[in-house]
């Protein structure tokens, strides 16, 4: 089994789903046995979810969307 230092190198890409099947297996084997790293990965995962949630709160105003639709209309006609 890989140690904590080696496992930590994979964490970001593990959460980004950018690892090969083989590397996913290595990471998950480690996380299954190591609460220490499991906590780290869960914290990072929670942080990402929070970031996404915060960002999604920002939306383009309906007025601007209307302007865009109008410009598109003018472009076509």
């Amino acid at each position: 089994m890989i140690n904590c230092d080696d496992a930590a190198k994979y964490f970001h890409e593990y959460l980004d789903k950018e690892l090969s099947r083989e590397d996913i297996w290595k990471v998950e084997e480690h996380l299954h046995k190591c609460r220490h790293c499991f906590g780290h990965v869960e914290f990072d995962r929670a942080l990402r979810e929070l970031l996404k949630k915060k960002m999604v709160e920002t939306t383009l105003s309906p007025e601007i969307k209307q302007v865009i639709a109008k410009k598109l209309y003018q472009e076509v006609h």
Partner: protein, 216 residues
């Protein structure tokens, strides 16, 4: 090769039939309107200014429409729109030069040692999480919700953009590399640094608030 239509006894034209620009507009609108909010959030991360971001989305959207016939059906429309928005940004704000300069600077840095240093810093996180279980998934938002946005704003432009494309827009590394027109290795290193910096500032906030103390 010219095809022959036995029913019409006419050449089948490969040209778009007249009047189809209405269909094209409709198809474009149907497909792309749903991405306006996502495009706007990304535009904000580029311009860091509401008005500029709104202008950028409008301009990029119309440019996308004008070149919609170059879009290949079945490929990723969202990634295509994001790339057009990125290019529009560089054209309108002529930021390319500054970006390239920043890129050069990145190359000069001893990448590997920097990576190891950051790794070392990160290696101290699990002990923080373990020693101070107050920072859990459930209460992270209550404790650090506002700080996350602040910490994100404080990141250097190119790190913040990569992070938003990855974590908020769910693009793959390869798609991000295409959108930003940089090698995939650059995407990896920007993301790595962005995450390290983000975590670091959050620990500082947590520390300031007395949520945890460094083990002495």
């Amino acid at each position: 090769m010219v095809e022959y239509d036995p029913l019409n006894k006419n050449k089948i034209s490969s040209e778009v039939p007249a009047g189809s620009h209405l269909d094209k507009a409709q198809e474009f609108e149907t497909l792309s309107m749903t991405y306006l909010d996502a495009l706007y959030r990304y535009a904000l991360s580029l311009t860091r200014n509401k008005n500029d971001a709104e202008d950028l989305v409008q301009e990029a959207y119309l440019r996308a429409y004008r070149s919609f016939n170059t879009f290949q059906r079945g490929t990723n429309l969202k990634a295509w729109l994001f790339k057009i928005l990125t290019n529009t940004f560089f054209t309108l704000y002529q930021k390319q030069k500054r970006y390239q300069a920043a890129e050069e600077k990145l190359k000069e840095e001893p990448d590997f040692s920097l990576f190891r240093d950051t790794e070392k810093e990160i290696a101290s996180v699990p002990s923080v999480v373990r020693a101070f279980p107050i920072l859990t998934r459930d209460n992270l938002e209550n404790l650090l919700g506002d700080e996350v946005t602040k910490a994100l704003d404080e990141l250097p432009d190119e790190y913040r953009q990569a992070l938003i494309l990855c974590d908020v827009q769910d693009f793959t590394y390869q798609e991000i590399a295409n959108i930003l027109d940089v090698p995939i290795g650059t995407v990896r290193s920007r993301l790595f640094r962005a995450r390290s910096m983000l975590q670091k500032s959050l620990w500082h906030y947590a520390e300031e608030r007395g949520l945890w103390r460094r083990a002495s």
